[in-house]
Chain length 507, copies 2
């Protein structure tokens, strides 16, 4: 079965070429290019934060830069996001708010947060240079307020900047790295991704990058030695050959919108009902790179979430599975508890709160039972006698002593459930909003160069953002801000590396 | 970092070529082939059961067949295996042993057993034609005894044939497909894989296939249109260009022996300490196919196992996690319970048995505590008071009534733990033998043709066995016999499809 990408090859027509053979899963030999319709030193595919950052730094390095964006406006998934950056090691904001942080502690934490597949070279480079990257972001005109948002949330709803945006304060992370708040949100109420992308796009234009909208990259053009020397794109639905003298940077997003790709690589994620991204996150960039010899990796991983807080008081409730058992310290980052629900508890979970803790969540989790006693709650949830009720009694007994011997929830969220009535909110994958985006893609060096399965470089090909396996690589330990931070930081590297390269010798 | 494949390129030398550029992660353009050193209609890479079956059927279809095997003898991982086939729908053995089975019930079961990523077309084709495949295996000289092995085990230790080799009798599978025993072991005591491969290799030779040992395939040779027309191999360490007029069949095993590949695609599996396969399972075949444009899929999946039975009585014990909670019906196939230990319980689990149930396991699980009471066992395992002891009391109470309201273990394995002393066997990934092999690889059609990410065929390229994503695709629902059955069945298809193809037009 052919994957149903949003077809553009079929729409194009040129009398001199048989366009029906164009596919992002193959390459186009340069010998079959009749003439270049456009050209530039560096061609960037995609104008999210990764592509924007690549364009800015490539242009500032003196390269002629052309950005192809398939939508009618730039922004990508970043424009839909909260806009947090993961910065640390002593940023001006951390200092102003009175937090000490240390590069090594940040490194230790980010190695855990990147997951089992962490790329130590990328994590190390990011920690070494992230303060410079902070300055670069500020240099785009992005403001960060000198304010700390204390209440645990998924994103500060006001214009506060600094927050704990991951598992820094939760077991077991807490005991392996000294915590500090490292989530940095640009100064605006609520989501900051749109504002951020306005600044990025303006900066790219100011640096001299030329942006073409409604331009869908379809197929990389390679020479006989396998070097990428350009691409075939559909601009306003017309096929155009675009020469890239120095290189192509793929920054075209992830693949969460391509159900067939998700099935093939990450079938567990099909249970998530709320993919986060734009239509462009259809995996096309990943497939283009793969067709040119690039290796893909980490394709089974994603960040998923059914945010059952705020209200932060919900973290004082308990999460139980279909058997009425607890399974995690509830005070972890929502991505971690949600990952456990899907991957470890077969997608079934309830949040149990008492009357003093309850509030509506942003994901509108449904109350499925409200009862005066634990025993009645257990019955209402059709759990066997002595299952959920014993779980709550056991929890309560230890919580009263400030302890959670089973899962090590932090003292500050520990207190017995004791204000009836008691409610159960359904956090199951088939009953709640379960958001997801992908964390797998092309394998790249920290420089942004795309590599083959044997680690050798595909000449002329670069990538960044969700088209790659970047900084965050596992939903169960992810922190908010890692994607935008990593995508922009390594996007800049990709742009600079491409700009520094020698011109391909093609006609 | 370059992946450390067992290097062969570096060892080869030819005055007319720079061999250092040869890599399984790239292709070799036919224009750079000075001359063909060997040629055949169909070239099969690897002589496990998939390659052997491909060679037999390609040769029987009239093609000239050349098999390249990197080891000094054939057999592959199959020769190390139990040698079960998953056959059903009314085999002669099932009938002789008095079992009714039905093609549709087998199909329903195999769709579940293949996992979330099940390939319906492959499962359907296998169910439709597996009786013919049974005859084909018998035709190789493989005998199946008309005997049923009743006791639940991982593999009949005697020469019995028929057994339940998966989750057919366990919740939730039991309620979705009418169970029948479908594991068929060739007639020999203990492991039958070696015997099976002797028959396969003899049959391949009889059919006229030429086998060359100590021949490592390195790089596929492609023409300008991307068709695979041969390969570069190192035969007795000397580089040889091998023309494949009709096609190359990659049947070179999986990638479990390549730690770097496992890390990139299935990092969870790194926790398993006992990879099952030969040195050849280093992913080379997968990478060769990928370099020629083939898509890879399902790469995160594997079958893993810490077989805590036999003795079958152990299934009457209970598995608990690090918190003393049960998490599964223990009577499932060992691959399913082991998968749950690793992926759902963070790798930590104990089997709790009483004195009447205990026996040594084939994996020599260590006893970490023996106590007279549940409370003392709980203390010995450093679990909080009222955790494990309540779990056992809850289990016992319901087991006495023939019920398992939490996990639906079958009545036949349900009875209270009541004969002290009670023992805990450590089934954790870091303390027990945890076996693993991979279930991801090249994406293929049922015909054996390798496809690109867009579903289009890579001309001249075929694959089967663990080099592909085949019949079984998920360890949590796997049944023994699916790998060898699928590898041989779809290996035959690959061989026949290749044999029927038109010759490539290359010099």
């Amino acid at each position: 079965m052919r994957i149903d990408w949003i077809g553009c090859a079929a729409e194009g027509n040129r009398l001199d070429l048989d366009m029906k053979d164009a596919s992002c899963a193959t390459v186009w030999p340069v010998s079959q290019v009749p003439a270049w319709d456009m050209e530039s030193d560096v061609v960037v595919v995609g104008l999210g934060v990764a592509g924007g950052a690549a364009a800015i730094d490539a242009a500032r390095a003196g390269a002629e830069v052309l950005v192809l964006e398939r939508a009618s406006g730039g922004g990508g998934a970043t424009a839909l996001a909260g806009g947090l950056f993961y910065f640390g090691g002593g940023t001006p904001i951390q200092k102003a708010c009175g937090f000490e942080d240390d590069k090594e502690e940040m490194f230790k934490y980010l190695m855990m947060a990147s997951g089992k597949n962490a790329d130590e070279a990328k994590v190390r480079l990011y920690c070494e240079e992230n303060l410079e990257h902070f300055d670069w972001v500020v240099g785009l005109g992005v403001e960060f307020k000198e304010s700390y948002h204390k209440e645990k949330t998924t994103l500060p709803e006001n214009d506060d900047c600094l927050c704990y945006s991951g598992n820094e304060l939760a077991y077991p992370f807490l005991s392996h790295a000294k915590p500090a708040p490292r989530g940095h949100k640009p100064k605006i109420e609520g989501d900051a991704g749109g504002l951020l992308m306005q600044k990025v796009i303006s900066a790219a234009e100011e640096a001299g990058a030329k942006i073409v909208y409604e331009a869908i990259a379809e197929t990389l053009v390679t020479d006989e030695q396998g070097r990428v020397v350009g691409l075939l794109a559909f601009v306003d639905r017309q096929p155009k050959f675009v020469r890239a003298r120095k290189g192509v940077v793929l920054a075209a997003g992830g693949f969460v919108m391509n159900k067939e790709m998700v099935r093939k690589h990450a079938p567990e994620l099909l249970a998530c009902n709320y993919p986060i991204g734009t239509d462009g996150d259809d995996g096309r960039g990943i497939c283009m790179g793969e067709a040119a010899g690039g290796a893909i990796m980490n394709m089974s991983q994603g960040l998923l979430s059914t945010p059952f807080y705020p209200p932060a008081d919900h973290l004082k409730g308990i999460l139980v599975n279909g058997q009425g058992q607890r399974f995690i310290n509830e005070d972890v980052y929502h991505g971690r508890s949600s990952d456990a629900i899907l991957r470890q508890q077969n997608g079934k979970a309830y949040l149990i709160v008492d009357d003093s803790l309850y509030g509506q969540t942003q994901a509108f989790h449904k109350i499925v039972a409200v009862e005066e006693t634990f025993e009645d709650l257990e019955k209402a949830l059709e759990m066997p006698e002595g299952s959920l009720s014993y779980t709550i009694e056991f929890f309560n007994k230890h919580a009263a002593e400030g302890e959670d011997p089973l899962f090590h929830k932090h003292k500050s969220y520990l207190r017995p459930l004791s204000s009836p009535p008691y409610a159960a909110l359904n956090c199951s994958t088939d009953k709640a909003i379960f958001a997801v985006f992908t964390l797998g893609g092309l394998d790249t060096l920290p420089t942004g160069e795309v590599v083959r399965a044997d680690g050798s470089v595909v000449p002329g090909l670069f990538a960044a953002g969700r088209t790659t396996a970047g900084l965050p690589r596992e939903g169960s330990c992810y922190s908010s801000g890692m994607s935008i931070a990593g995508a922009s930081f390594f996007g800049r590297y990709a742009g600079r590396t491409a700009a520094q390269g020698a011109d391909a010798q093609v006609r």
